[in-house]
């Protein structure tokens, strides 16, 4: 008997724009836009053409990313344009404005890169990124990304399930949580030098072990068929699609297994606004805005593209069981 297992993307079949078609359309639009812009202002065209692109990561990674297994699932939703994904995001290490990451992240050195594994596990130590990635098969996955600020995107990531990496670390039976840490390098990260920031660096996020082992939980090294740009968390970041975006920590340098719940950055800063679980939940408002709906980007001026927010960002089939006995109003 053939058992068909729903792997991750709930939205039913046949509506996604294949990546190749997307790229063709993108090139067509770019060519059109560029020729228009070139006529109006040649300088601007040049700036726009390489807007925020700094894909200087090593060749071995580029090769591995380009040989990733292409996306086979389907989704109804249109992908958010590359320029928006890479030019409009939060990465407070580079500044609090959404255009700051794209503006400043090119200064970040992402090669060589190593990740330190510590805590309740057999295989702790510091590992070169290359060695960690040697044992995994990369694949493309299209996920919705819902920011706690009530905007959302649809992004084609390239990565591998976090579970594969965790297995390499061999956590012991005491490991109940896994915490992640972002690079702290104020010399290359202007946001970490800011005297006006109330964030205690480095940025820390964490998951419960069963959340971390869920097949949806992805470690991403690529975006739109290419390597991750620095502003999106190069060279390696987490993607947890049923949680608000701030859980998906970027530029990871440390993974720590622990028996107790780790203290996480936003939870420490404003516990009434940012819970540890941070599951996307239209029924629990952020104190400053409703979470019942979201602005799917890009939005146009007179139709903001507001759509209802789905429980667990629409991934309830894959993750609802993780929280079946929990009061999600209390554990938000």
């Amino acid at each position: 008997m053939l058992i068909r297992k729903d792997r991750f993307s709930t939205p039913p079949s046949s509506e996604i724009t294949p990546h190749s078609v997307y790229l063709k359309r993108r090139h067509f639009m770019q060519a059109g836009a560029l020729s228009l812009l070139a006529a109006a202002s040649p300088v601007r065209a040049v700036i726009d053409a390489d807007n925020g692109r700094d894909l200087s990561s090593p060749a071995w990674l580029a090769k591995q990313v380009s040989s990733a297994k292409p996306f086979t699932g389907e989704t109804k939703e249109a992908l958010t344009p590359y320029d928006n994904v890479t030019g409009y995001n939060n990465f407070y290490e580079f500044g609090t404005d959404k255009s700051d990451p794209a503006r400043y992240a090119h200064k970040l050195t992402t090669d060589p890169w190593s990740v330190t594994v510590s805590g309740e596990c057999e295989n702790s130590g510091t590992f070169a990124l290359e060695d960690l990635l040697a044992k995994v098969q990369l694949e493309e996955r299209v996920y919705r990304l819902r920011c706690v600020e009530a905007w959302s995107m649809v992004i084609p990531w390239i990565g591998f399930p976090l579970a594969q990496l965790i297995k390499q670390c061999q956590p012991n039976s005491r490991a109940k949580y896994v915490a992640f840490e972002t690079l702290q390098r104020p010399k290359e990260m202007p946001g970490q030098r800011s005297v006006f920031s109330t964030i205690d660096w480095p940025y820390i996020e964490g998951l419960r072990m069963d959340e971390a082992m869920n097949d949806l939980t992805l470690m991403a090294v690529g975006l739109y068929g290419e390597m991750l740009p620095n502003q999106n968390g190069a060279p390696i970041r987490l993607v947890v699609p049923w949680k608000y975006g701030f859980k998906s920590i970027k530029s990871i340098v440390r993974i720590h297994f622990s028996e107790t719940m780790p203290a996480t950055t936003w939870n420490l800063l404003a516990p009434n606004e940012y819970g540890f679980y941070a599951n996307v939940n239209p029924n629990v408002d952020h104190p400053r805005w409703s979470q019942a709906s979201e602005r799917r980007l890009p939005s146009s001026l007179f139709s903001p593209n507001r759509i209802p927010t789905q429980m667990f960002n629409g991934y309830q089939q894959q993750v609802a069981h993780l929280y079946k006995d929990m009061d999600l109003e209390r554990y938000y």
Binding site: A33, L36, T80, P81, D83, N84, G87, Y88, Y92, T96, K98, S99, W151, S194, F196, S197, T198, I199, L269, A270, D285, P287, R288, W289, S290, R295, L297, P298, S299, S300, L301, F302, S303, P304, R306
Partner: protein
């Protein structure tokens, strides 16, 4: 410079932010869709809010500046700056309701009641409304001495703007705190200079 020419200059200067915004909107509608980023509505809400606050500060700065420099003519432009404050605050409210909440009245009213930072912003606009309506010479004559005390409500309106901004701090506090310090300084200047005046009034009664 004759007063009419100065008035035109102030008018044009205060209009520049709107002109910038209009050209951006026109370019967006003509295909430069990413000009204000992927959330143009949100960008416009922030922009108009910032300029409402800037003009509020400019309005409050007129009388201390006139006093310290001795340039009494500065006072001739306070009314227009105040009206532009109300104008940008209204655009801010309109942009929020139309571009972010798409005129969903129920949602707009709920948000204004439930979110303290929005309540304070709304209160500030509600204070500015009667001040704008009574800004004419006619109302000034009709209200006589009460006109002056009515228009002192611009002080709490400015304070509410600061609260509206402060409550939105997430991790970077520079701009909201900077604006608040400016408001406090401008109101503080009045406190010092108003004190002797009110004492005088007390002793006269």
């Amino acid at each position: 410079m004759p007063v009419s020419l100065r008035r035109v200059t102030v008018f044009v200067l205060a209009l520049l932010p709107l002109i910038y915004l209009l050209q951006a909107v026109i370019r967006i509608q003509h295909g430069e869709w990413n000009l204000l980023g992927p959330e143009p509505g949100r960008a416009i809400v922030f922009f108009t809010g910032t300029w409402a606050f800037n003009l509020m500060l400019a309005t409050l700065a007129v009388s201390p500046a006139a006093k310290h420099t001795g340039w009494r003519w500065l006072l001739q432009h306070r009314r227009m700056l105040g009206l532009f404050t109300f104008f940008y605050a209204s655009l801010h409210l309109l942009a929020y309701s139309a571009l972010l909440l798409e005129w969903r009245w129920l949602e707009i009213s709920q948000e204004l009641i439930e979110r303290p930072y929005l309540t304070f912003g709304m209160l500030s606009w509600l204070i500015l409304l009667p001040l704008a309506l009574t800004s004419t010479k006619g109302w000034q004559r009709r209200l006589k001495r009460r006109w002056k005390s009515l228009h002192k409500w611009s002080y709490p309106a400015a304070a509410l703007m600061a609260v509206h901004y402060l409550l939105q701090i997430r991790s970077s506090w520079f701009e909201p705190v900077f604006y608040t310090i400016l408001v406090l300084a401008l109101l503080g200047l009045r406190r010092w200079s108003l004190l002797p005046a009110s004492k005088e009034r007390l002793s006269a009664e």
